[in-house]
């Protein structure tokens, strides 16, 4: 037998072929994934309306136990007994959730009634108007879990109570796998084809790089509260010179790619600034986004980052939804996703201003300031959307690392798990047939506020009864992710009873 005819593979050949195969397999996997999105995108091509999502991340872990509280006497007494003295908000200061008539207390199907923190009269108003929904006790879950299962150690999301890990899990909605993309980014990948010539990314961040908007196809675009982030001190002739330099051909592929990205960034920034300057001057809004927030009940006064972020989001929504081309010079987009973030919620100490000399100051302090900022900013943002006529096209929702412990640590609260969240948008009661967010109602199950009760891990950390997968799948479905793609965006959604919680009109 001639050796030349035998298929002999040398070690070197084997390594070479294996390497090629490895690369090929990776590329193929990637291609399949992308093709899946592209095919899905084709299926979404019948989208003709405009919609936007606004994620408001409350960084540090919001103590939602004090954002919304029970008002049924026995339940309030239980709340008060455990949170007294540092965290218990007095019952006579709570702002009761009302039905649309404004006089009857809202009561959920389980017989609970609630009140907002006294720093949140705007939230009370929005709820009464049917423009705000409340989701109870949502959190990261690998699968539905009981107290017994938790205590036996099974089925827990990894690194519960750790800031960074829980932030990632909230933003990926995949707690049990390495973080590769955010669920906002996956939505953007899926729907990007409906913005064929938008000029700017579907995903815009007002708070820098984030996991939520990381996609495989769509890159997030970060802007500041004053518009595109441009090169400092580079304008006019300098900018022209820089553009010329970046346009020169370069044999180094890395340098060429860098020049291309830099030029794209400059162009996008100019486009964005032009669009928002031409359309939304300072006096555009008939409601003022507050620069400074004043907390009710003689609380603090401070500059608001969230209000500034939401103002820019409103301007970008106005420009994004406006038709492209002359004379309107909008972006003509059909879908936009925004990410905002406000920090300061990690209040292990100084959560309230309670002290033994002035116990009534428990209703003011650091957390009250944050809630007042959230409440006032959401109200103004909703009013801005109504001015644009986009109230049924824009949904804002809160997210946070985790809830906090129900008992106080003496000065604040520690890391918890399940927490309550807000969903804002829609026409409310003024046009029930059109409204997007089915506000004026609570969703999910309010936890039994008992340490070592059925909803407690052991120290007043609520075991979520609703998965964030369900929370976000409900929003994503409204946004345009159809049922056939829901499992692609939320890989674990099939583990939970229902992918829709009913707070969005679909």
């Amino acid at each position: 037998m001639n050796d030349k005819n035998v298929s002999v593979i040398t070690r070197r050949d084997f390594l070479r072929r294996a390497a090629c195969a490895a690369v090929g397999t990776a590329a193929m996997t990637s291609a399949i994934r992308d093709l899946r999105f592209m095919n899905a995108a084709v299926a979404q091509s019948n989208i003709t309306d405009y919609k936007a999502l606004v994620c408001i991340f409350l960084a540090g872990g919001n103590d939602s136990n004090n954002m919304i509280m029970p008002t049924v006497t026995s339940e309030y007494n239980n709340y008060s007994a455990i949170r007294t003295p540092v965290l218990a908000i007095p019952q006579n200061t709570l702002l009761p959730l009302k039905q649309s008539n404004g006089t009857t207390d809202y009561m959920d199907p389980d017989g609970h009634s609630y009140g907002f923190h006294p720093a949140c009269p705007e939230l009370q108003q929005l709820f009464k108007d049917g423009k705000l929904a409340v989701l109870m006790n949502a959190g990261t879950l690998v699968m539905p879990i009981t107290r017994a299962q938790y205590q036996s150690g099974g089925g827990r999301p990894p690194q519960l109570f750790s800031h960074a890990d829980q932030v990632t899990q909230w933003q990926t909605s995949v707690p049990d796998a390495p973080a590769l993309t955010g669920w906002g980014g996956r939505c953007a990948d899926l729907l990007n084809s409906v913005n064929p010539s938008a000029g700017i990314s579907l995903s815009v961040s007002l708070a820098g790089a984030n996991t939520f908007e990381v996609g495989n196809i769509v890159s997030q675009y970060a802007v500041s509260t004053s518009g595109a982030i441009s090169l400092n001190g580079v304008s006019g002739a300098r900018l022209a010179a820089l553009t010329n330099i970046l346009g020169l051909p370069n044999s180094n592929m890395q340098a060429q790619a860098y020049a291309s990205v830099a030029q794209h960034s400059i162009n996008t920034g100019a486009l964005l600034n032009n669009a928002i300057t031409n359309s939304a001057p300072t006096n555009f809004w008939n409601v003022a986004f507050p620069t400074r927030i004043t907390t009710p009940n003689n609380g603090g006064s401070f500059n608001s980052s969230l209000s500034s972020q939401l103002k820019m989001v409103a301007r970008l929504i106005e420009a994004g939804s406006r038709a492209a081309g002359s004379p309107t010079n909008g972006f003509g987009m059909k879908r936009q996703i925004f990410f905002c973030q406000v920090g300061g919620y990690d209040l292990h100490s100084g959560q309230t201003n309670y002290n033994t000399n002035t116990p009534s100051d428990v209703i003011i302090g650091a957390h009250a300031n944050l809630l007042a900022e959230l409440s006032q900013s959401l109200m103004v943002f909703q009013q801005a959307m109504e001015q644009l006529g986009l109230q049924d096209s824009v949904t804002a929702f809160t997210a946070s690392d985790f809830g906090r412990t129900f008992p106080s640590n003496g000065q604040g609260s520690d890391h918890g798990w399940g927490s309550h969240h807000l969903i804002l948008g829609g026409s409310g009661n003024s046009n029930p047939a059109a409204r997007s967010v089915l506000g004026g109602q609570t969703y999910g199950k309010f936890p039994t506020l008992t340490v070592n009760g059925p909803d407690d891990t052991s120290t007043g950390r609520w075991i979520p009864t609703t998965a964030i997968d369900q929370y976000f799948a409900t929003i994503a479905t409204w946004f345009g992710v159809d049922n056939s793609n829901l499992g692609t965006v939320f890989p674990n959604i099939g583990r939970f009873a229902t992918p829709s919680l009913g707070f969005m009109k679909t």
């Binding site: 150690g153 990894p158 690194q159 519960l160 109570f161 750790s162 800031h163 960074a164 890990d165 990690d346 292990h348 100490s349 100084g350 650091a366 640590n409 003496g410 000065q411 604040g412 520690d414 890391h415 052991s458 120290t459």
Partner: protein, 193 residues
């Protein structure tokens, strides 16, 4: 022609492997699973801070404290309870200087991370349980550590107060000792990570 070359390459690989195995030192201490204990890992210098305000801000206190930082770390260097027996479940502080207790606790968390690639999570008793063997390999990191637990199963600091574990990420943990006033979030707190 190719055969001798292949033999030479094979010999070179064997020699290389032999050399590597002889000279290799483990980068981190390996747990003694049979004894259920963990050797101490103290290569990283601790960052000890003393709180100066309520809230989350901390101020590093080193040899020369900045203005406003009144905490004297020397006061944490002597044991407030030199007679207590280590290893017992008690509310009495360990018979060690508070700074040593804090650093030993930091080392235990570090050892746990070295073994499992992530920190333990939860409240003080949950973390204490994880360090005592409620972990995937049933390693008792607390054995022979001289640290003590109170009646609630909490690891206590050098003043007899439970530590507070602030979980920043899977790889970063702040350990708070309430200090001599035994109240967390006050200026005399000791914080390390």
């Amino acid at each position: 022609m190719k055969k001798p070359l292949a033999i030479l390459v094979l010999l070179a690989i064997i020699a290389g492997l032999f050399f590597l195995l002889r000279t290799k030192n483990p980068p981190t201490p390996q747990p003694d699973v049979q004894n259920g204990s963990m050797p101490e890992f103290g290569s990283n210098r601790p960052v000890v801070q003393s709180r100066t305000q309520s809230g989350s801000s901390t101020l590093a206190v080193t040899a020369a404290p900045a203005n406003g930082a009144q905490t004297n770390l020397a006061s944490h260097a002597a044991s407030p309870n030199p007679t207590s027996e280590p290893g017992a479940s008690t509310n009495e502080p360990p018979a060690l200087p508070p700074l040593t207790v804090l650093d030993k606790t930091r080392v235990l968390i570090h050892n746990y991370h070295a073994a499992f690639g992530e920190n333990p999570v939860g409240t003080n008793p949950e973390i204490a349980a994880a360090l005592q063997g409620k972990n995937p390999r049933q390693i008792n990191f607390l054995a022979d550590s001289s640290l003590q637990l109170n009646g609630k199963g909490e690891i206590i600091d050098g003043y007899g107060t439970p530590f507070f574990f602030h979980q920043i990420s899977a790889h970063e943990m702040e350990i708070h000792s309430a200090g001599p006033d035994k109240v967390l979030w006050t200026p005399d707190d000791l914080v390390t990570k």
